[in-house]
């Protein structure tokens, strides 16, 4: 019944549905684009963003972080991974005569720090080496080739993603087991991999309280705050974008209100007949609300489909992975959008429905 009433004035229904569609598309695709933007930003800044880097402070007696200090840190930071590293530098010479200067990092928990393009970073690096992708290309190194450091040979187990050179661990880099740098007594840096930027800040403060006083700096602690600022900016951006989407939905809601009001005014006589032949007020109310809900669902559905397309496009462009749009963090906006469309439609149907149902049939029939 409600369905056929909508079908009667197809143009009007289509226009109202279009209003809803625009509203839904606005709110969904803006929401999804924000998620895509966040993902893209954090994939580029993410690793530095969540790290706390600890090195020897200016008032330290030792030239590095001692094993005792590391144990102490580990006691303080129980949930997150603590990764001590020893660093040096070296020059590698390849068989083709190319030379490359690079930093050498001795680390055990390689998987916590490095993403590889080829091979897999071991949780515990005991033998073998990882090397920057770019450097490997320059030197013509392949998987399984030996590299030499300090008289020891290591087989190349994997190539490090060169994009990571954005961070402080960047540049040409050779990663070997920490035992390869056993001539250095202390660790140069300790990286704590926190779950997010906020956690990193919190860990940084905790370590600072533990090791340093106002006068003396035993350990230099750096919780990167750059990512936090970026995160804050993204939050503001997404609020603003959702605000714009919200306004579009309000506009769409007003459009539905108008359409429902028009259609009930137009059908005043008809509703009068319904009431005259004994259709109850609640039944008239329900009929008109059903019409509104159907219209909202229809518009919402089309809107969701269009938004999914837009969202996937945004993800493809920003993160290179269109399927990321299907992830709950972004697809939840589709659910919100649809829910809002139905809700807004029903709400804007309430007044016309109430008005139509309470019109006295004798008045309605007269004109």
């Amino acid at each position: 019944m409600a369905w056929r009433n909508l079908g009667r004035n197809k143009l009007r229904t289509a226009l109202a549905a279009l209003g809803i569609i625009i509203g839904v598309v606005a709110i969904c695709s803006l929401g999804m684009a924000t998620v895509a933007l966040q993902q893209q930003a954090s994939s580029q800044l993410g690793d530095i963003g969540n790290d706390v880097t600890v090195s020897s402070g200016q008032d330290s007696d030792t030239d590095g972080v001692t094993q005792d200090q590391i144990d102490e840190i580990q006691n303080l930071v129980t949930d997150d991974q603590v990764v001590p590293q020893k660093t040096n530098s070296t020059t590698l010479e390849a068989r083709n005569g190319e030379e490359a200067r690079m930093s050498v990092t001795g680390v055990t928990e390689a998987s916590a720090l490095y993403n590889l393009t080829t091979g897999e970073a071991p949780d515990r690096l005991q033998s073998g080496a990882l090397i920057s992708n770019d450097t490997a290309n320059t030197l013509g190194l392949e998987m399984g080739d030996p590299v030499e450091y300090d008289g020891q040979f290591y087989r190349v187990q994997g190539f490090i993603e060169s994009e990571q050179s954005f961070g402080p661990r960047g540049g040409g880099e050779l990663v070997i087991p920490v035992s390869g740098l056993s001539n250095q007594e202390y660790y140069d840096t300790v990286t704590i991999v926190a779950s997010d930027g906020d956690a990193a800040t919190e860990i940084g403060e905790r370590l600072d309280n533990q090791f340093n006083t106002e006068e003396t700096e035993e350990l230099s602690i750096q919780a990167s705050s750059g990512a936090q600022n970026v995160g804050g900016f993204l939050d503001t951006l997404s609020t603003a974008l959702l605000g714009i989407g919200g306004i579009s939905l309000v506009v769409a809601g007003v459009a539905i209100l108008n359409v429902m009001l028009m259609s009930t005014v137009e059908r005043r006589g008809e509703i009068g007949v319904l009431r005259a032949v004994g259709i109850r007020r609640i039944e008239v109310l329900r009929m008109i609300l059903t019409e509104a809900a159907l219209m909202g669902a229809l518009g919402g559905l089309v809107g969701v489909i269009l938004s999914l397309g837009t969202g996937m496009l945004a993800f493809q462009m920003l993160t290179g992975n269109a399927m990321g749009a299907l992830d709950w963090s972004s697809s939840k906006y589709l659910v919100y959008g649809f829910g809002f469309a139905v809700l807004a439609s029903v709400l804007s149907g309430v007044y016309p429905a109430w008005k139509a149902a309470n019109d006295r049939p004798v008045e309605a029939l007269r004109g």
């Binding site: 056929r4 259709i279 109850r280 007020r281």
Partner: protein
Amino acid sequence: MAKSMSVIELDDVVKRYQSGEETIEALKYVDFSAERGEMVTVIGPSGSGKSTMLNMIGLLDNPTEGSIRLDGRDVTDFTEDELTEERRTGIGFVFQDFHLLPMLTATENVELPSMWDTSVDRHDRAVELLRRVGLGDRLEHTPGQLSGGQQQRVAIARSLINEPDILLADEPTGNLDQDTGETILTELTRLKEDENVAIVSVTHDEQMLDYTDSTVRIVDGVIQEVSRE
């Protein structure tokens, strides 16, 4: 006939409307009654109060004074919801301009008054009524595909779907040509006997007087004359 037979009774009914500063007295102490199987025609010039009277009989409006009895029960002070219930079960309406819903088929239009009631399935009765008014071959047509006379016959079928006691007709032949009007009146005459229903109609149309059992003439809200054939 004895008064207890009356299915609808208006007793000293007064209806006043407020129109701006003025109070209009549309009905002045009107007495009226109709019985099952009887066709009563209310006739009078426009503005005489005959439509107001039909609204009273059809329980579409409450009187200012006086009382209304439906099947012996006093319904004067019923609420809108109670009146809706009485209309649903006891009264059928036929309007001058048919008032069929354009998106529904003939059968669905006939079923309309019971469409929201899931406890009964009136489909068979709807088809049966349409056959009886001669539209057995137009069951799935929408009003747009039917002539005026056919639409009015659909409306008559609709008014009878809930087996009412009273059928109210407001200018039932007003939008129809002479011949079609006569067919409709013949139809109504037959149905009032078959269905044992009281038919009250309001009209300008003098030809209706040939079919009626009793005529009520109303002028300026006062009943001038009641004549029985």
